[in-house]
Subunit: 455 residues, 2 copies
């Protein structure tokens, strides 16, 4: 990865200060768009950064724009009118990126930008793509691809390819369709080079290639890419017609984003923040779950206040309040994490709800037995004079572990069934529920035990 030294940045700032267009262009000419974007973000002065991006030629500038952080991009576009956005950027982008950009604009600005796109065919494609749900294959695909007819010959195919490929950055496969535009096969570029022939494409192509329907959820698309080791995949409509293609770079971004989102949900962060976000946006992401935690702490205090009489007689009961909530939380987080992750990587299917629950109950019984036995032995030795406390703690822990295991399995599976992200049910949610439920169990079991032992 490119590292920009402070010396380099100083030299560049100097070039910018002199408005030395020739030298500045030379610096940027062979730089990868992602590196220019990084440079842009390291120049704290917005004016300097904008000067640079305006020097770039159309394709390069558009690529740099799409490599910027969403916030930076928004700041840069805020100063521009719809026509400039269309002509300087959209005209130079692939349709899938153009759609991403347009979706970031204010709704009232979108139509105006669309109306200024030069190429009517591109504009039409973008309008079609905007109809797809963002979280489906259709929302991720672009329409730039080489399409050939199965009845063409290989030389004809290569001729077509030279014509169609002019504006395309990356091509890995040629898509083969029939007269009705239905996907019939693919032809890897490698084959075009290593096996030149005059045969018809349909005799050379790979038939039945992996493909997805446009309404397939993105998570499933990602699993297909991983399963079949793909770099690009054709997208078809409900009657098998080729409508677009998805590339692996977009899928990889999705895999990273969705695992980050699950991790954040599990950590009690209510929005996507990183260490480089401002103090204010980080606080906003953290405070909601913390307040839920405080509310639940207040509920816990109310539950315990109904138990104050017993606590004042047998204060030893108070000593085990932390272990009850803590263990319930730990058990619940483990169970829910396994469910969430296995749903995400495809190793668990929602259809197996009851068998998964059965398995978890077995695991819960094992864990509960070990944990209760440990604490029982400890308390028998350490608190021989308090049999009621000893039995209450061991019994409560057993029930709490069983309950937390079941809750940690049932809640995420139920959310998945309701098409809500199951990761919501991990982390603080499960910690807090198990804390409260654990206390109720502890209060109930202890009260019964105290009565039984006649304390």
């Amino acid at each position: 990865m490119k590292e920009f030294t402070p010396e380099y940045l100083d030299r560049l700032k100097d070039i910018i200060a002199r408005r030395d267009d020739v030298q500045a262009r030379k610096e940027l000419a062979d730089m990868h768009p992602a590196d220019v974007a990084e440079l842009y973000e390291q120049l704290d002065d917005l004016e300097e950064a904008e000067y640079l991006i305006k020097l770039l030629d159309g394709d390069h500038a558009a690529d740099v724009l799409m490599e910027l952080d969403e916030d930076e991009r928004r700041r840069l576009l805020a100063d521009m009118d719809a026509e400039d956005i269309a002509k300087q950027f959209i005209d130079h982008l692939d349709t899938d990126e153009a759609v991403d950009l347009i979706q970031e604009l204010e709704p009232e600005e979108r139509d105006e930008v669309l109306s200024h796109i030069d190429d009517v065919e591109q504009a039409g494609d973008i309008i079609d793509l905007l109809k797809y749900d963002e979280d489906t294959a259709g929302g991720l695909m672009g329409t730039e691809m080489i399409v050939v007819n199965e009845n063409w010959s290989m030389p004809e195919c290569i001729k077509q390819m030279r014509m169609q490929a002019e504006d395309m950055d990356e091509i890995y496969n040629v898509y083969v369709v029939d007269a009705d535009d239905r996907l019939r096969g693919i032809l890897p570029l490698k084959k075009l080079i290593t096996h030149p022939s005059v045969s018809k494409i349909k005799h050379v192509m790979e038939v039945d290639p992996p493909s997805v329907k446009a309404d397939t959820p993105i998570d499933e698309v990602a699993l297909d890419f991983e399963k079949y080791d793909l770099v690009a995949m054709p997208v078809i409509d409900s009657i098998g017609r080729l409508v677009g293609r998805i590339t692996v770079d977009d899928v990889m971004d999705q895999v990273r984003e969705s695992s980050e989102r699950d991790y954040q949900l599990a950590s009690g962060l209510s929005s996507d923040v990183g260490a480089d976000d401002s103090v204010w946006s980080q606080t906003k992401a953290r405070i909601p779950w913390l307040l839920v935690g405080i509310a639940s702490g207040i509920v816990a205090s109310l539950i315990l206040s109904g138990f104050e009489a017993q606590l004042s007689v047998v204060t030893a009961l108070a000593l085990f309040i932390p272990i009850i909530g803590g263990t319930g939380g730990n058990v619940g987080v483990q169970s829910s994490a396994i469910v969430v992750q296995s749903l995400a990587n495809g190793s668990l299917d929602i259809k197996n709800f009851s068998s998964q629950l059965g398995k978890e109950i077995l695991i819960g019984l094992l864990n509960a037995s070990v944990i209760s036995a440990v604490i029982l032995v400890y308390n028998l030795i350490m608190l021989p004079e308090e049999p009621a406390v000893t039995v209450s703690v061991a019994l409560s822990l057993f029930v709490v572990v069983m309950f937390a295991t079941i809750l940690g399995t049932v809640v995420p599976l139920t959310l998945e069934k309701l098409h809500i992200n199951p990761a919501l049910a991990t982390g603080p949610f499960i910690q807090i529920s198990n804390d409260i439920v654990g206390l109720i169990i502890y209060v109930g079991v202890s009260t019964a035990c105290l009565r039984f032992f006649g304390t």
Copy 2:
């Protein structure tokens, strides 16, 4: 994704039972290796599954083998001798996959398998690759690639490519080197087709392509793939000579695995388990952290037992034990998750240790103020007769939040500095530490407050 219906499986089992080789081969012939692997895993009878894999031709069988789960693969290989493993599988694999397979074998078996590889050049490459650390670019790369000299002409290059490409599955780029094997550029296949010419390659190639040194950690390799939207990347040695290439499918597996590992560590799972693992392996993965939790619960009870005298006088203090540990845990998990994730996706650099800590302290102050104010107001209204408790709880929460914020930032950053996975410091570790520290703070602050208010 392919779904196998119960009817299909029944029909196939029938074919297997009849040992109908011709029909069985026909069923599998055009099936993607990943689908055959799935089929294999759905046949519960190992004998049936092995019968199928033995019917496949060499390349197909080897590809299927590498798509199996590690456990299944181990079971299948356990019955085979070293020579068969070499000839039936290794001979048909790319070097990077062959290395993965050999690393899964028992150390004493490795040399024997290597000695049975037919192609000496391939064996030599594998032995070289085995020297690299698994977590570096060298450990992930393979040596199958098209390499051409910068002084060749395009037609010469295509001729060479046809010769070299025979055995390769996927080719996206041609790598261009100088007479000393130093990487000079790449030539995308697209250019070979769309811009045929007789010029020398060095005039057509893309210069200065993204590349990595062989000792680059895998996480950085993945960030480069994402940054530059790559499908393959050349790997060079310390003096710039081309030694291999990494493909995007391997990188994507890495991204998935490393985010799963972080998530598991954060959820208190001590090894990589999924919902499809056995009750026993899941219990083994869960019980260690649960026992740590129990030990810490016992420590908590000991801390509180030193506080029993005060608790028996002011039982209201016991009501707020859950809120103290819970809040500390939640705050710590949030801080550590942000640090861990930002380190993983490259948005935080370990060099910014102190500025990150400063920022976290500010965020901690904001959160601590809000939380303490909420609980202060609540207790002033609900417990007007217990000023000592009200002040103790609010003050303790403030200190606990600050402490948890700092611990949640410093511990993962320190682990990263020590080259230990910072994700270890999230989840139960931070929960448990903050629980204990929170109680100590609460006991200390309350004791002081009780004395101050003369209760």
